[in-house]
């Protein structure tokens, strides 16, 4: 039978997590295999070519583009200081009539007789890559970076924004059903990754930024709030490069969605521990979901189970992922093979689910449940 179900997101207390840390350009690796590091430790460093600035010398000096070579005091490759004269015109009497200065420290990259522009390259920019998770270096990628390994708890979110960060887990909601409110966020959240229950509002996110929280983990968010927070409507789910001052990990979906009890309990059990989070999401081939990594150093955990699950069975824990059962949790109670008619009159493969707290089986299209995977 076709496996018409959606593989679930991982929520587990015991996982071995490996993350590759690569420089944007080849450089120097700063650590060795076997070293135990904290998330903030730089593991590799390089220098990126400096920013390029253009100076329209021909226009500034009032000469034809093809004449600028004669006016240049500095040549290609020469170092320059900010404010230093790089080109000038001369009068018949040998007096300076017009001059052109460098807006920045750097070097002359190129002089174009076609555009009349001079390109200035600013000094190289040092770039570092950090370990991202507290853990051990298990492999060095020469000149590129390292592979970090850690063991501990791991939670995959469904959607997020913002990049990598780390901080101590701090609970802001009493239960997974409670929203994460603006009022709950105070100065004690500074530098922490806060987590709440069902929903975070735009105002609460702004307060989290103001208070210096590093990350927010929550069940849901209204799309309208996300749009207001980002300043634009998200079209295609490719995120991670937002720089809003906080990383957001949504565990359930859009709207007010109680965080899955298992996720909430797991986060609660690790309150006070340091975690690393990343909001980067890409919902297409090579799918990337946001994540929360809670390293438990010094504790050995079992090797990760095979990533491919066996599929739906009677008793499999599932989550409804579409109205009218969105966000509800339960177990599979029947897998009828024949197609069934929905309210929409579509005939599809269905399954029966006994949702938590109910006495009755609900019938859902198989496509509308997600397995809960450990």
């Amino acid at each position: 039978m076709a496996h018409a179900y959606t593989p679930g997101l991982r929520v587990t207390d015991h996982a071995v997590i490996r993350r590759t840390r690569r420089l944007p350009l080849p450089g120097t690796v700063l650590v060795e295999t076997g070293k135990t590091l904290t998330a903030e430790t730089p593991v590799a460093r390089t220098e990126l070519p400096g920013n390029v600035q253009t100076v329209n010398v021909a226009s500034l000096l009032g000469v034809h583009q093809s004449d600028i070579a004669d006016c240049m005091i500095k040549k290609e490759g020469d170092p320059v200081e900010a404010g230093e004269v790089i080109a000038s015109t001369k009068s018949f009497f040998g007096l300076f009539r017009a001059k052109c200065t460098s807006p920045t420290k750097g070097s002359i990259e190129s002089i174009s007789a076609i555009t009349g522009q001079v390109l200035l390259r600013e000094p190289p920019i040092p770039v570092e890559v950090e370990a991202y998770v507290d853990g051990t270096v298990v492999e060095v990628l020469p000149r590129e970076g390292v592979v970090m390994e850690t063991s501990g708890a791991f939670v995959q979110g469904i959607f997020g924004i913002g990049g990598e960060t780390a901080g101590v887990l701090h609970r802001l909601a009493e239960s997974p059903k409670d929203p994460l409110t603006e009022a709950a966020i105070g100065p004690e959240c500074k530098g922490k990754v806060v987590f709440g229950g069902s929903q975070v509002t735009g105002k609460a996110l702004e307060k989290a930024v103001k208070m210096g929280a590093r990350g927010v983990i929550v069940g849901g968010i209204d799309d309208q709030d996300l749009r207001a927070f980002l300043g634009y409507d998200l079209g295609v789910a490719i995120t991670g490069s937002e720089e809003k001052g906080v990383t957001l990990v949504i565990t359930e979906g859009f709207g007010r969605m109680a965080m899955a009890r298992r996720t909430f309990d797991l986060l609660c059990s690790h309150e006070g521990r340091k975690c690393s989070i990343n909001g980067a999401t890409q919902i297409r081939a090579g799918v990337m979901r946001p994540e929360v990594v809670i390293p438990i150093l010094g504790e050995r955990v079992a090797a990760p189970a095979s990533a491919v699950s066996e599929g739906l069975k009677i008793g499999s824990p599932v989550r409804g992922i579409r109205e009218p059962y969105f966000g509800r949790l339960g177990t599979v109670s029947g897998l009828p093979p024949e197609l069934q008619l929905l309210e929409t009159e579509a005939k599809v493969r269905v399954l029966a689910v006994r949702f938590d707290g109910t006495e009755e089986d609900a019938i859902l299209p198989r496509a509308n449940v997600e397995m809960i995977e450990g």
């Binding site: 039978m1 076609i114 390109l119 209204d222 490719i238 979906g253 496509a367």
Partner: protein
């Protein structure tokens, strides 16, 4: 080919971005017929990361439904042995969420914009436009290239003979980034250089060894002219050669079939052209998928295809909302719902793209969004289908400040004979009239237009089959694939409330009278079954046009279908829905009732009432 006549059975799959569809065709007597169809979620993504898993799952469903053994372990049995296996296996693919590209240009509003148009026209999603003047620092650009991991890069910049510095600098940024391709880590990223021809040598030097570099004609040879064709062709070629070949599992899939795996849009296009050519008619086809919507047109033998890479019903559904705006989506919704809820539902579909509507409200909402996706995709098509000039458009420097595309479209809706719909939301609509309604609302056909839908979404498979066995493809296409919906009659021109919009009268091929009329703002269906035709007079209201001129009666033959003849008195040019929300909802309900669009409330449903929102 000699084996054509010996082929007794064909299995064909289409690996879509969301679902993999398999069809089994058998020769029964002297003709080829569709036997069964199966489907399964596409498995390009984690945790499977192997497209063949989804193919096998879909084929297993075909096995179950047909009772025919097709698999030997994890291999498709070919050729047919006794009653087992098939003689031919074929596949098409659009999996992987479409083609994702980054484009580079020197000046963002000039070569950057041209590069974007070239990539969009070739069917790509443009992930980012990097330009020398986009305000970002070089290291930020380098990081962006690495973070996004595009399938392909289009590098342009400079006019032929102009300065080479800036475009070379962009090439150096790409070289510095040493980008890795999105699918498959171990291969070189395809890069198309379509910039200043004087820089080719130095670009080759910078990128030749690090990337799979292809050099093609400059997309902006002079400032005033774009030449997008060669770059678009290069995008298509590289997509097959590099991207698809490295998508998870495709190498294995390629060994299963003797025919190259065809991109889904190309396969659908070949079928659309076949219809237009055989019937000598003007055809528009649309294929709305999860990530992309493709529009095809064949007008007087001129074929055009556009791919709206960011308009679709799952991965890209949120982008439909972003591009169309919530008001345009909501105008098609006939139930009260607040904006916050609608936005959340659409975003939830985006993050869980394989789910399907379970309630009527969800179905209505999804069909409302599809109307907007189709409308926007058609708008893009009209702008790009500007005839065979080889050059998409001439732009002067003053035009560069405008986003609109110049050039006259060849799409004349009054001259359109057939509109064909395909893709999940159209092919799988529970009622065929829903597909007709979505297409009519989105395309707003004028005069007399016939409508058809791909019955179970198999145009892609038949498109690729046509390249190998045209007889089998054509027979299945005519008998099992294309479902004639009927026709729509829509007068054009300004009309007033209460005024007669259009009337038809005539005789069917069975000798029965056929008659119907609507006033302005009304819709109606006149029954005319599939297989029947009717010779009719179409009488427009005063000042209105149905194709014979203002106020003139048009004689025409109408072919029937499962829906019948839709009389659409809502007006064209202008077409509009009532501004007043209450009146608009009333009107939507009237039209839905006139077309019998949805089941009546209270119909038997497996969803307990308590669970309804």
């Amino acid at each position: 080919m000699s084996e054509k006549t010996e082929i007794r059975s064909v299995l064909a799959t289409d690996c879509g971005s969301t679902t993999t569809k398999a069809i089994l065709i058998e020769k029964r007597g002297e003709e080829y017929r569709l036997i069964v169809r199966g489907e399964a979620p596409t498995t390009v993504e984690a945790p499977f990361e192997d497209v063949t898993r989804g193919v096998l799952n879909a084929v297993m469903e075909v096995e179950e439904l047909s009772g025919r053994k097709l698999l030997d372990g994890e291999r498709i049995i070919t050729p047919q042995r006794g009653e087992d296996g098939v003689d031919l296996y074929l596949s098409t693919s659009s999996a992987g969420g479409g083609l994702q590209m980054m484009v580079f240009g020197v000046v963002k509003s000039m070569t950057g914009e041209s590069a974007e148009r070239a990539a969009l026209g070739a069917g790509a999603i443009v992930m980012d436009i990097i330009a020398s003047n986009d305000g970002r620092l070089p290291h930020e650009k380098v990081k962006r290239i690495r973070d996004l991991r595009p399938d392909m890069i289009l590098l342009s910049g400079g006019i032929d003979g102009g300065t080479t510095t800036h475009v070379v600098e962009l090439a150096e940024l790409i070289a510095a980034a040493d980008p890795k391709a999105r699918l498959g880590a171990g291969y070189l990223l395809p890069i198309i250089y379509a910039g200043n021809k004087n820089a080719r040598e130095i670009i080759e030097e910078r990128l030749g060894s690090k990337t799979a570099l292809v050099i093609t004609d400059n997309i902006r040879p002079v400032l005033e002219r774009e030449n997008l064709g060669p770059a678009r062709q290069a995008v298509h070629d590289l997509f097959m050669e590099h991207v698809m070949a490295h998508a998870p599992g495709y190498k294995k899939l390629m060994t299963w079939t003797p025919v190259p795996i065809m991109p889904t849009p190309a396969a659908v296009g070949s079928i659309i052209q076949t219809i237009a050519h055989n019937e000598k008619i003007n055809v528009i086809g649309v294929d709305i998928g999860g990530a992309t919507t493709d529009v095809f047109s064949d007008y007087g033998g001129t074929f055009n295809r556009t791919v709206s890479a960011n308009l679709g019903m799952s991965y890209s559904i949120s982008n439909v909302l972003a591009e169309a705006g919530i008001a345009n989506v909501m105008r098609w919704v006939a139930f009260g719902a607040d904006e916050v809820d609608i936005r959340n539902r659409i975003k939830n579909k985006m993050i869980r793209p394989t789910t399907i509507p379970q309630t009527l409200e969800e179905l209505e909402l999804e069909q409302a969004i599809s109307r907007e996706a189709l409308r926007l995709a058609f708008e893009q098509h009209k702008h790009l289908a500007v005839g065979l000039k080889g050059v998409q458009q001439e732009r002067t420097i003053s035009d560069t400040f405008e986003q609109s595309v110049s050039g006259e479209t060849i799409i004349n809706l009054m001259a359109l004979d057939l509109l064909v719909g395909s893709g999940g939301v159209l092919s799988h609509a529970p009622r065929r009239v829903q597909s007709a309604s979505m297409m009519v609302d989105a395309f707003l056909p004028e005069g007399l237009t016939h409508l058809a839908v791909d019955s179970i979404f198999m145009m892609p498979q038949l498109g690729v089959l046509a390249t190998r066995h045209e007889k089998a493809a054509t027979e299945v296409f005519e008998k099992d694939c294309l479902i004639p919906l009927g026709a729509v009659v829509a007068p054009v021109g300004p009309c007033k409330e209460g005024q007669r919009a259009v009337e038809i009268r005539g005789k069917t091929s069975k000798g029965q009278a056929i008659q119907g009329a609507v006033d302005f703002g009304q819709m109606a269906i006149v029954p005319l079954a599939a297989g029947e035709t009717a010779e009719v007079e179409i009488v427009p209201g005063r000042g209105l046009d149905v194709g014979a001129g203002k106020g003139r009666t048009r004689a025409a033959e109408i072919r029937g279908g499962v829906v019948g003849v839709i009389l659409d008195g809502r007006g064209r040019r202008p077409f509009g829905l009532p501004e007043d929300p209450k009146r608009r909802v009333e009107r939507l309900r009237e039209w839905a009732a006139a077309l019998d669009l949805y089941p009546k409330a209270g119909a038997k449903s497996p969803v307990p009432a308590a669970a309804r929102s």
